[in-house]
C-alpha cells in the first residue's frame, strides 16, 4: 500500500517494476553523487544542473520519466526491498576495538561460514549420546583444544622450540605456524574451506605435518591414503569421502599419484595438489605454501573442537568402505590424556614408525602437539633408517608396531646404534609377541616397553603405563586410557566406550548396526582376557576363530609358535572353508632368508607344533608359502587378502 492505496489502485504492474525499477532506484536517494561543493557555495546553477546526481525525490523522478509520484514511490520501495541484504549488518560485529574493515582481506560473512552439502552430511554423522557427551565435558575429557589452538599456543609460548625434525631440518613452532598459516591461506584461495574433506597421500615428511595442520586451520577434514594405495583405492576412498582436494606426490616411487588422481575425473575432486615436479592440471604445492596471504590475515574463522577433523578408513578399500570420523573432542582428547599417562613432556622427542596415514602415527603427532614437544619424522621405514633416526634425533619416545621393533632386534640394530635417549616405546598395531617385548626390554634397559591397544575407531583405548614393569607390559595391553572404559562381552569380545570413541561410521549404516551393542559399547572384534589387576590381554580376533567341526579355537598361540620357528619370518593361520568340517586351518608362511629350505613343509611344521604341545585338532591342514604378507601400515597382516587355496 502507498498512502492507503494498493498496487492495483495506483496502477503499478509487475511489468512496470521490471521496466522502471532499476532506473528509479538509481535516480533516487539510494545512489548519490556530488561534484564539487555547490550547496556550500550556493551555486544554484550547479545545484540545479546536478540535482539528478544527488538523488532525486519521487516527485522529481516521476516528472522526469513520466510516472506519478506515488507509482515511483511504490516501485522504489519494492526495489529497495529486493536489493536489501539482511545479513550485511553482521559485518559490524567484527569491527571496532581497533579492528577495521579491509576490503582486500574480506571474505563475505556468508561465504566464510558456508558449508557444502557434503560437509554438512559429515557433520551430521558426528552424533553422540547426549548423556555421554555431557559426562565427557563435565570430566574435562572433552575441551576446546584444536590443532590450530595448540599450534598457536606453542608458537607464542615457546616459538623457538623444535616442532618437527626431519634429518638435518628442524622446524620451530613459530616457523611451523607461519608455514601452516600460509598454506591454509593458499588452500582457501582454491575455494577450500570449513568442512571440506581434503585427502593426503604423503610419507611422513614435513609437508605432511604442514598440510594436516593447514587443513585443520581451515576447519576442513583430512582423510588419509596410504602410500601403497593406487588408482583403485583412490577411486573408492576419494569418492566415498567426497574429497574436494588431494595433496600427494607427483611421483610416489614410480607411481604418478597426482596424474592418477586427475585421470580419475572424480566429480567431487576439484583440486589435486602435487609435491615435486610440475603436473599438468595439478596445483604445485610450493605455490600454495608460498602464498602471501595467510589464513590469519584473511581472518578465517578458527575451528572448534566439535568440528569433524579427520575421516579415516579402516578397511574396505574397494567395497563398503568403513569411514571413521573424529572431531577434536574424540581425537585430541585422547592424545592430551595420553601425554600424561605416557609421562611425556615438552622436552621429549616423539617419533612414529608408522605413517601418519594411520591413526597410530597421528597419535604420536597429536601427543607432540599437546606437549609442544618435537616430532621426529621417519619418511619411510627400513630397520636401519629407524635405528639411525632414533640415534641421530635423540628420540625419547617411539611409537612402533611390533614388526618394526622385531626387525630392528633381529638385525641387532640396537647394538649398533645409540638409542639410549629412548625412555618409552609404545607398541601397537598388531599382537605383541611376549618374547619380543622381553628381548626389547633387555636391549633397552632404561626404556619402558609398553603396549597400546587401539583401533581407528577407538584410538588409544588401552595401554600400559610406565612403571608397570615388563611382566605386565609384555603380556598385556594394559588398562583403559583416561576417559575410556573396557569390558569383555559374553563371547569374549573386548568392548569399549569413552570420550575417545568415534560416533559411528560415516555413510555406512550396515557397519554401524554391527559395530555397537544395544547399550552403546563398541564391539572391537578382538578377543581379550582381563587379569585381576584390570589389565587386558588381547588374545585374538573373533573372525580369526577357526571352527573345525564344532571345535573352536584361536590360532594366535600357534602363530606365535610358528613365528619363533627359525625358518619362518611371518605366519598367519586363517579358516579355510571345508564341505565336511565347515572350516579347516590354513597356514600361510613367509620363509626367512633360508626360504628355499626343503624342510619347510606342512609335516615339519606340524611336528614342530606337536613338539611344543599343540593339540592335533589345532594343527594346520594346508600350507601356503609366500614371498611376503599383505600388511597394514602398522605391519599387521591383512588376513582377508591372503589367497586361500581352492578346496575340494
Amino acid at each position: 500500500m502507498a498512502q492507503g492505496l494498493n498496487r492495483r489502485q495506483i496502477g503499478v504492474t509487475t511489468a512496470m517494476i521490471d521496466s522502471y525499477g532499476e532506473l528509479i532506484f538509481e535516480m533516487s536517494h539510494n545512489k548519490q553523487s556530488r561534484r564539487g561543493d555547490p550547496i556550500r557555495e550556493l551555486d544554484f546553477d550547479a545545484i540545479e544542473a546536478t540535482r539528478h546526481e544527488r538523488g532525486m525525490s519521487d516527485g522529481q523522478i516521476g516528472e522526469q520519466i513520466g510516472l506519478s509520484e506515488m507509482q515511483v514511490m511504490y516501485i522504489r520501495a519494492m526495489m529497495e526491498r529486493r536489493r536489501f541484504h539482511t545479513n550485511h549488518f553482521q559485518r559490524l560485529l567484527e569491527l571496532g576495538g581497533g579492528k577495521r574493515f579491509r576490503e582486500e582481506r574480506f571474505t563475505a560473512h556468508e561465504e566464510r561460514f558456508q558449508y557444502h552439502d557434503d560437509a554438512l552430511a559429515l557433520r551430521d554423522a558426528m552424533s553422540f549420546d547426549p548423556a555421554r557427551a555431557r559426562h565427557y565435558s563435565e570430566q574435562g575429557w572433552w575441551n576446546n583444544d584444536t590443532l590450530s589452538g595448540l599450534l598457536a599456543r606453542h608458537a607464542a609460548d615457546r616459538g623457538a622450540a623444535a616442532a618437527v625434525i626431519q634429518g638435518e631440518t628442524i622446524i620451530s613452532y613459530a616457523d611451523l605456524l607461519h608455514r601452516v598459516d600460509r598454506l591454509a591461506g593458499g588452500l582457501h584461495g582454491l575455494g577450500l574451506g570449513r568442512g571440506d574433506v581434503i585427502a593426503v597421500q604423503l610419507p611422513n615428511v614435513e609437508e605432511y605435518v604442514i598440510s594436516y595442520l593447514a587443513i585443520a586451520r581451515l576447519g576442513a577434514v583430512m582423510t588419509t591414503l596410504y602410500m601403497p594405495h593406487r588408482e583403485r583405492e583412490f577411486e573408492t576412498l576419494l569418492g566415498h569421502s567426497r574429497a574436494r582436494a588431494l595433496i600427494c606426490l607427483a611421483d610416489a616411487g614410480g607411481f604418478p599419484a597426482a596424474q592418477a588422481a586427475l585421470n580419475l575425473k572424480l566429480p567431487k575432486l576439484q583440486r589435486v595438489i602435487a609435491i615435486g615436479e610440475p603436473v599438468t592440471g595439478a596445483v604445485p604445492f610450493e605455490d600454495l605454501a608460498g602464498t602471501s596471504t595467510g589464513a590469519d590475515s584473511l581472518d578465517l574463522p578458527l575451528p572448534v573442537a566439535a568440528d569433524p577433523m579427520l575421516l579415516l578408513y579402516t578397511s574396505g578399500t574397494t567395497a563398503s568402505p568403513k569411514a571413521v570420523p573424529h572431531n577434536s573432542h574424540t581425537m585430541l582428547g585422547n592424545g592430551r590424556l595420553g601425554v600424561g599417562a605416557h609421562q611425556l613432556g615438552p622436552d621429549d622427542v616423539i617419533m612414529s614408525a608408522p605413517p601418519f596415514g594411520h591413526l597410530f602415527g597421528l597419535y604420536a603427532l597429536h601427543m607432540s602437539l599437546h606437549n609442544g614437544a618435537a616430532n621426529l619424522l621417519l619418511p619411510s621405514f627400513t630397520p636401519p633408517d629407524l635405528a639411525a633416526a632414533i640415534e641421530a634425533g635423540r628420540a625419547t619416545a617411539l611409537l612402533a608396531a611390533p614388526a618394526h621393533l622385531a626387525a630392528c632386534l633381529g638385525l641387532g640394530l640396537f647394538d649398533k646404534h645409540d638409542c639410549s635417549a629412548l625412555k618409552i616405546v609404545i607398541l601397537s598395531g598388531s599382537a605383541v609377541p611376549e618374547e619380543m617385548a622381553r628381548a626389547a626390554s633387555a636391549k633397552l634397559p632404561n626404556c619402558e616397553i609398553t603396549q597400546l591397544w587401539g583401533m581407528t575407531e577407538t584410538q588409544g583405548g588401552l595401554y600400559c603405563r610406565p612403571g608397570d614393569g615388563i611382566e605386565i607390559s609384555a603380556t598385556s595391553a594394559g588398562r583403559p586410557a583416561p576417559g575410556a572404559e573396557a569390558r569383555i562381552g559374553e563371547d569374549g569380545e573386548l568392548q569399549v566406550r569413552g570420550s575417545m570413541l568415534f560416533p559411528g561410521y560415516f555413510d555406512n549404516p550396515d557397519a554401524n548396526a554391527a559395530a555397537f551393542t544395544h547399550d552403546g559399547w563398541f564391539r572391537s572384534g578382538d578377543l581379550a582376557a582381563q587379569d585381576g589387576n584390570g589389565n587386558f590381554a588381547i588374545t585374538g580376533r573373533i573372525k580369526d576363530i577357526i571352527n573345525r567341526g564344532g571345535v573352536k579355537y584361536n590360532p594366535r598361540e600357534i602363530e606365535d609358535l610358528l613365528d619363533s620357528h627359525p625358518a619362518i619370518a611371518q605366519s598367519a593361520i586363517v579358516p579355510m572353508p571345508d564341505k565336511i568340517l565347515g572350516e579347516r586351518a590354513c597356514c600361510f608362511a613367509v620363509p626367512t632368508d633360508q626360504g628355499g629350505d626343503p624342510e619347510i613343509s606342512l609335516d615339519t611344521l606340524c611336528a614342530y607344533l606337536l613338539g611344543h604341545g599343540i593339540a592335533k585338532t589345532k594343527l594346520p591342514e594346508h600350507l601356503v608359502l609366500l614371498d611376503e604378507m599383505p600388511l597394514t601400515p602398522t605391519r599387521k597382516i591383512i588376513k582377508g587378502r591372503l589367497p586361500l587355496p581352492e578346496t575340494g
Partner: protein, 306 residues
C-alpha cells in the same frame, strides 16, 4: 517570565533576537548554531521537503549541532557503537526548548522541526533535511563520507532545527570545507582512496580529490549503507522468509534464530540498535575524531588553556 522579558514587536531587533536565540541554544549545550538562508533552502530542497511545506509562514530556519561522540566512544566495538547517537535526543531537546523560548520571548510561532521520516514517502525519506539546514546555516560542510557534515573545530555533530516566523538575518555557509583533511589527501594520493572510503564495511563510498586537495567528486551508495545500518528493513524481510519457508523447521529458523530474535527484542523495547548507525567512516576520519574541539576531553582542555 516577566513583562520586560517579552519583546515588543515594535521594538524587535532581529540581530539581537538572533543572538539571544543562538545564545540560548549554545547555553543549553549546542556546540554550534546558526540561521540558514530560507530562500536558499526553498530553492535547494525538493518540493514536499521545503521548510514551507511544514510551516507555511516560516521566515527563518535555525540549525544547531551537538557533540557527536565522546573520545572513548571511538574505540568501542562497532556493535556497541551502533547504540551511540542516531536519534540524538540532546539536539532535539535543545531545539524543542528553543522553539518554546522563541514563542515565549517573541510571541511569534516557532516549531521544533520533526527529525523523522515522512509518513507519506516511506522510511528512507525524511520530512526535512536537517543536514541541508545545518550546511546552509554554516555549521557544517559536506564530507566525502556520504555527505556527513563535518565542522573544522567540532568535528562530527548531530543536528536539529527550529522553524520560526521570526525574520532573522541568515548566516552564510562555511567559507572552507574542512574535508578532506591533509592526511586524507596524502592517503588519497598514495592509494586513490581516503580513509572513509577504504574502511567502509560495505564499500559504499568513493570519490575524487582534485589537484588542489579539494573534493572533486563524492559518490555514495546509500542503499548499501542502509543495509548495514538500518535493521528495521530486515524485519519485513525475515517475515517474508518465514512465509516462504518450506517447512516448520525453516519457519522456526527464520523467526527464532539468534539474529532474528534480536530484532524482535529491539522492536519490543524500541532499541536504538534497530536504527544503529555504522560509524566506521567516522571512526577513521581525522576531522571527526581529532578536530580541536571534537570531544569533551579536547573541549575541556581547550577551555582550561584559554
Amino acid at each position: 517570565m516577566g513583562d520586560d522579558d517579552v519583546a515588543n514587536a515594535t521594538e524587535f531587533d532581529a540581530r539581537e533576537a538572533k543572538k539571544a536565540i543562538l545564545d540560548y541554544c549554545l547555553g543549553k549545550g549546542a556546540l554550534a548554531a546558526g540561521v540558514a538562508d530560507l530562500d536558499a533552502l526553498e530553492r535547494i530542497a525538493p518540493p514536499g521537503h521545503r521548510p514551507s511545506d511544514i510551516m507555511p509562514k516560516v521566515k527563518s530556519v535555525i540549525s544547531l549541532g551537538v557533540g557527536g561522540q565522546t573520545q572513548g566512544a571511538w574505540a568501542v566495538p562497532a556493535k556497541a557503537m551502533g547504540y551511540f547517537g542516531s536519534t540524538e535526543t540532546r539536539a532535539y531537546t535543545i531545539s524543542y526548548g528553543a522553539a518554546f523560548f522563541i514563542e515565549s520571548k517573541y510571541q511569534t510561532p516557532a516549531i521544533y522541526c520533526p527529525p523523522d521520516m515522512d509518513n507519506e514517502k516511506g522510511p528512507r525519506v525524511p520530512l526535512q533535511s536537517l543536514k541541508l539546514h545545518a550546511e546552509v546555516a554554516g555549521i557544517g560542510a559536506r564530507s566525502l563520507a556520504g555527505d556527513i557534515l563535518l565542522h573544522p573545530e567540532f568535528g562530527y555533530m548531530y543536528f536539529a532545527s527550529i522553524f520560526t516566523e521570526l525574520d532573522l538575518p541568515p548566516d552564510r555557509p562555511m567559507a572552507q570545507n574542512p574535508c578532506p583533511a591533509p592526511s586524507c589527501v596524502s592517503m588519497y594520493r598514495q592509494i586513490g582512496r581516503t580513509p572513509c572510503q577504504k574502511f567502509c564495511p560495505v564499500q559504499c563510498l568513493s570519490g575524487k580529490i582534485d589537484e588542489a586537495g579539494k573534493q572533486a567528486e563524492m559518490h555514495y551508495d546509500m542503499a548499501a549503507c542502509a543495509e548495514i545500518s538500518q535493521q528495521y528493513e530486515a524485519v519485513p524481510a525475515l517475515l517474508a522468509e518465514a512465509m516462504a519457508a518450506e517447512d516448520a523447521q525453516g519457519r522456526e529458523e527464520a523467526l527464532f534464530d539468534p539474529d532474528n530474535k534480536m530484532l524482535w527484542y529491539k522492536m519490543s523495547v524500541g532499541s536504538g540498535g534497530l536504527l544503529a548507525q555504522c560509524f566506521e567512516c567516522m571512526r577513521v576520519c581525522p576531522i571527526a575524531t581529532k578536530a580541536p574541539l571534537a570531544d569533551p576531553i579536547r573541549r575541556s582542555k581547550a577551555k582550561a588553556e584559554a
